[in-house]
Symmetry: C2
Subunit: 150 residues, 2 copies
C-alpha cells in the first residue's frame, strides 16, 4: 500500500518484469548511461571493444527490455536511429538542425506551456521529449541570412 523503496536497483527493475540478469544487459545499460547520444549502433561499437562477440540484435532486444522495465527511454532524432537515455535523465528537448544536422539540447521546461496549450485545445497529452523538434540552429540561421550565403 505504500511504496517502500524508491531506490530499486536495476536488477530489481528487470526481475520485476520477469527478466533475467545477464552480463549483456549490465553492459548495455552502462553504455546508455555513459555515452553521449547512444544509438544501438554506437552502443555496439563501444561494447565490442571489450565484448567482441556481442551482437547487434542483442543490443536491440535488450534496449527494448530495459525500456519495458522502466530503466531507459528513447527519443527519435531525425531519420536515423533512435537515441536512448536513462529514464531519469531524459528530461530534455532535442533540437535538430535541418541545415547542419547538429543536435542541440534544451530544457524540457520550455515546452511546458506549449504542452498545456495543446492539451487544453485538443485533449492530446504531448511528450515533447519523445521526438526531436526540427529547425535551424543559431549558427546556421546567422549564416543563411548573411548576403554572402550564396
Amino acid at each position: 500500500m505504500m511504496q517502500q523503496s524508491s531506490e530499486r536497483t536495476w536488477q530489481e527493475h528487470l526481475r520485476a518484469k520477469g527478466h533475467r540478469i545477464t552480463p549483456q544487459r549490465k553492459l548495455i545499460l552502462a553504455a546508455v548511461a555513459q555515452l553521449p547520444h547512444p544509438t544501438p549502433e554506437s552502443i555496439l561499437q563501444h561494447l565490442r571493444q571489450t565484448e567482441p562477440t556481442l551482437n547487434l540484435s542483442t543490443v536491440y532486444r535488450n534496449l527494448t527490455v530495459l525500456q519495458e522495465s522502466g530503466l531507459i527511454t528513447h527519443a527519435h532524432i531525425g531519420t536515423g536511429s533512435a537515441v536512448y537515455h536513462l529514464a531519469d535523465e531524459h528530461a530534455h528537448l532535442h533540437l535538430n538542425c535541418l541545415n547542419c544536422g547538429r543536435l542541440v539540447s534544451a530544457a524540457a521546461s520550455i515546452a511546458a506551456d506549449f504542452a498545456r496549450e495543446v492539451s487544453a485545445q485538443t485533449g492530446f497529452l504531448i511528450d515533447p521529449t519523445h521526438a526531436a523538434v526540427y529547425g535551424t540552429c543559431a549558427d546556421c540561421a546567422r549564416e543563411l541570412t548573411t548576403p554572402a550565403a550564396r
Copy 2:
C-alpha cells in the same frame, strides 16, 4: 526589382530550378494535393491505377525535386514514411498517439509561443510542423487513467 507574379504556376517553379515538366511530375504533384496524408507508397498505389508502369524510385526522386522547387514540403510522422503536403497548406502540427497510433492535426499557431521561447533561450529557430509531436491522444488518456485499464 519588383516581384511581378506571386502566382507562379507549378511549371514555372520547376523550370526556375532547371527541371523539366514530365507527366510523372504532374501526376505526383496532383496526388500530393488530393490524398489525405500521402506517403511515397500511397502515392504510388494511387497513381498505378492509371499509370501502371510508374516506379517507386520515380516517386521518391520527384518528391525530392518538387520539394527543392518549393512546391511541397514533408513531415516526419513516426517511424514509417514521411508524409507530403503542398507547400501552402502544411501549416499544421501532427500529434502522434504512442498508444493507438492515431494522427491528430492541430493548428500550427498553438506552437507560436513555444517557438518564440525556444528562439529566445537557445537561438534555435524551430519549425514545429516538420515532425510529429508524440504523446497520448484524448481517448487513450481517458482509457489509461480508468481503473479498469489493467
